[in-house]
Amino acid sequence: MSVAIDIKYAARLLAKKPRFTALTILIVAIGLGLTLYTYSLLNQLLFSDIKFADNKPVYIIEGTYDKTHLERREANAIDLYNLKNDTSIIDELGLYVEGTTFVGEPGGTLRKFNASYVSSNLFSFTGIKPMLGRSLLPSDHEDGAEEVLVIGYDMWQGYFNGEQDIVGKTVSIDGDDPAKIVGIMPQGFAFPAIADMWQPLDEEAIAPTKRNRRWVSSFVKLKDSISLNEARSVLKTTNLSIANSLDDNWRWLVDDGEYLTIEPMKKAHLLQYHGMFIALMFVVILILALACINVGNLLLSRVNERIKEVAVRIALGVPQQRLILQMLLESIFICSIGGILGLLLAGYGLDITNSVLRDIFKIDGYMPYWWSLAIDGSGIALLVATVILMIVVTGLIPATQSLRSDFNALLRDGTRGALSKRAARTTKVLVVSEIILSCVVLIMASIILISTYSASNADYGVETENRLTATLQLPPSEFEIRSDTEFEYEDRLRRSAFYYALKDELTRRDNIENAIFMTQLPGTGGGTSYFEIEGRAAEVFDENPYSNNEGISHGELNTLGMRVVDGRDFNFQDAEDGARSILVNESIARDFFPEGDAVGSRVRRASQAQENTNDWFTIVGVVSDTFHGSLMDISSAQYNTYHSMDNWGPWRMQIALHYVGHEQLARNTLIDAINTVNSNVGMYNLQSYNELIKKPTLLIASVSKIFLICGIVAAFLAASGIYAVAANSVQQRTQEIGVRRALGAPDNLIVRMFIVQASWQLIVGVCAGIGISLWLISLMSSTMVFSLNTLIVAMVGMPLIIVFMVLLATLVPTKRVIEKEPAYALHYN
């Protein structure tokens, strides 16, 4: 068969130039591997819908995403309740809150489990039945109903050793609350989050009668006739009517018409990274385009090398399809092998990412159950489609190009001078596209790389070596919270007393230097509120400065290497009922009290409701700066204020201790000390300080690594591609250089000619590249914050590198031609 001859011929051509073949295959493999990897990542983490047997996508309706802290916000229960009953968009709506429950006999060891507090329709919503016993019933929500638990398969097998008669058994939760196990869910059931057990929400959350402080998220299915966009517009009107009905205390709930939002469930879990992932997608598409152009260009330069042979074939009457097929064969070969390698690369990358994802949730176990990545059928389909696309692009660039050449002239003159004007234009378009793509890819990759790198290497202003952290939770049965009663202050003191007793117990041990309690330790948390400085209130409350605010124990700042810079630390005076003292950090003192008059000044929480005139807090001290909150955004981290925990007595606190000796020993000491002081107190998320601050950055860090790889790949593709296209365009004009030199053109004129040409291409390419980058950045900026320095480095630095690369890639081959005698260039073929 004649096609067989063509195949042999193509294989021989490739085998003859092994380095060229390897390079092109490598470029294809990297392009395809990154594409498949990113597709699998985004599709499984973000784009595909979560569906159950009824095949309806699941959405999350909750409060507007908190852009300042990059956190999800729950909605007020009554608003979801009304939404379900007053509008006609919702088919099914379930409620949930993620929480923590301790299980264990009073006086014995407590085990912490992740609990989902849910509405009973969770099980009908998913269509999944318990494997033993029953699921939750509407009556379980009722006030005074018996406390019940539905547990997961793993908890049954692990904690209860697979006891057969477990259903019906009563266990103690959160100290000494009895709760009956009524059912076991099958293995793998993890909706709406991975949890060990499911508990009923209370009635006030399920069917609230008035606006209360019950905050919940909801998972919903929309009515068949309702699209996501229609649901969004209904929510918009709902938000407006909620805003109009709120009284002053609640006015803050709807901010500028923004409150309830609906997002696909997967997206809702990744909103803070959504922009970053979209950016990743664009960068990868651009890299793929870059790879296509590079390979196309390499094949083009090969065709140019044997353009005369092609001309002869045409003269000999080869049919067009045959000629195109012949050129496509090389592409088919290169792209297919590249595709297989790309598949392996993507699989390898996904494996690594899976282990990173597992690491992120190693401590708290809150990993969304769909965060397990694999290449699925749609990924393979995409790969095959992309391979075909690449074959067409990389094969057709050279094929059409050579078919368009003026073969008659080529044969008649036997010179390259006959290469058509079109050919020259193709080369110019290639150079400019190469510049645009490289520019965008390098800018985007470097911006995100710098941002993510600096986020994952942030300095939190605290000592983290030899520091251990954990979260403590007081059992409500022992530490009652009797708000608005005569016992309120007494309850608070009792809760605080536990923490100090634990601290005393700990510091008695040889291996513990000190211990501090904070509602959220530096590196985590970040609850921003606006504060008003006495006599300097802003017109509108949200134009006041804002700060992160934490509760803190007194006298232990040195545990974390924090210092009092001015004034004093909290002490026993601040424990008094109604004592209103506050600490601020250095940044606040510096920026708002430049005269050094921070200590003694008064501040208060700014809100729309201004009637509470008595809640002024007096600044008693200034402490060294630490950073709380989100890592991609330092706004909430910059300013910190601290309240004394003593007359507040939070029921949940984080502890940090400074130990000497082995970490494991310190862990044991902490557990032992808690059991000594009060064994009913729950302790979880026990980890080193470094682990604590690394966790929120792990995903960013791993995405940052992907961007690093993208950046390296892009730089490699850009450099090699720019060199190849620029060299190609010089090569195409080699003979012209010879003619010009024969006519007496001095060397510098020839060089200038190419530099001028390259400069035009650079101006067009770099401007377009920067423009596209700016547009992409604006897409991401709703969920990411970039520092000006980062933008400048990327927007100026990367284009400069590209200018440098293009000029170098133009100068080197030009010089090489000029260095030789003109006779050489004239006879160049």
């Binding site: 008649r412 001078g417 004007k421 003619v739 007496g744 060397d747």
Partner: protein, 252 residues
């Protein structure tokens, strides 16, 4: 095309009896793929101003190589080349470029027009490499050259829109536009049919009549005879160097 004999100075050859080219013991060796090619071997040649020389010889004997050396497109591996009284050895690249530009005009077998430039721009190109010519003067020099080859009507066309013969006429115009002292033509009619070849040949005759010094490589014995003097190269050596008696008769 007719030749205006009255404009020719009959004494031109005698007046310009100076050697414009002097080659002494020229060698040229190419090294490629471990293979040494002695393209030229001890070539001695003197060309006086106003001479019309044809170079012939079998394929691969070194004709083009000799022309490249004469045109400073390449350098000899040995020997001495004096051009218009200046030893070319040790000239800088810029100086060589300037000499090519002012003193030498090339006509190639493959025309070698630049496809992005129009006919007029192609002719103007070598003039733009000089600093001492105003734009107006350049324009009139281009006009003159176009007129000499009778291509004024195609000034704004692009090479791809011209026939081979027309392209070569433009190439000749480009070669003579700057009034070079030496015109080098490597098989100028090699790519042309006999009719177009005749046109180009008579163009060269005409230039010679007007006093140009021409060095032309050709395979065609009839064309060779139109020159005053014929040099025959064999295997890198000049084996025949003779005056053609019949020149004038053919030219008229």
């Amino acid at each position: 095309m007719s030749i205006d004999a009255t404009s020719t100075n009959p004494n031109a050859e005698k007046v310009n009896d100076l050697p414009i080219v002097q080659l002494i013991g020229i060698n040229k060796v190419f090294y490629a793929d471990d293979l040494e090619t002695h393209a030229l071997n001890d070539v001695n040649l003197q060309i006086t101003k106003g001479e019309y020389i044809s170079i012939t010889g079998p394929s691969g004997c070194g004709k083009s190589t000799l022309l490249s050396l004469l045109g400073l497109l390449d350098t000899a591996t040995g020997g001495e080349y004096t051009l218009a009284g200046h030893n070319t050895h040790g000239l800088s690249r810029e100086e060589r470029a300037a000499i090519r530009n002012k003193e030498i005009g090339f006509v190639f077998q493959a025309f070698n027009l630049i496809s992005d430039l129009s006919v007029a721009e192609n002719i103007e190109l070598p003039l733009t490499y000089r600093n001492d010519i105003s734009k107006a003067l350049r324009q009139s020099m281009v006009e003159d050259a176009l007129q000499k080859v009778d291509m004024q009507h195609r000034a704004n066309h692009y090479p791809s829109q011209l026939s081979g013969g027309q392209q070569q006429r433009v190439a000749v115009a480009r070669a003579i536009a700057g009034n070079p002292s030496l015109i080098l033509a490597d098989e100028p009619t090699g790519n042309l049919d006999s009719k177009n070849a005749a046109v180009v040949m008579s163009l060269l005759d005409q230039l010679h009549q007007q006093g140009a010094t021409i060095c032309m490589v050709t395979h065609d014995p009839k064309s060779a005879l139109r020159a005053q003097r014929t040099i025959e190269i064999f295997d890198g050596k000049i084996v025949v160097d003779q005056i053609n008696e019949v020149t004038q008769a053919i030219a008229v």
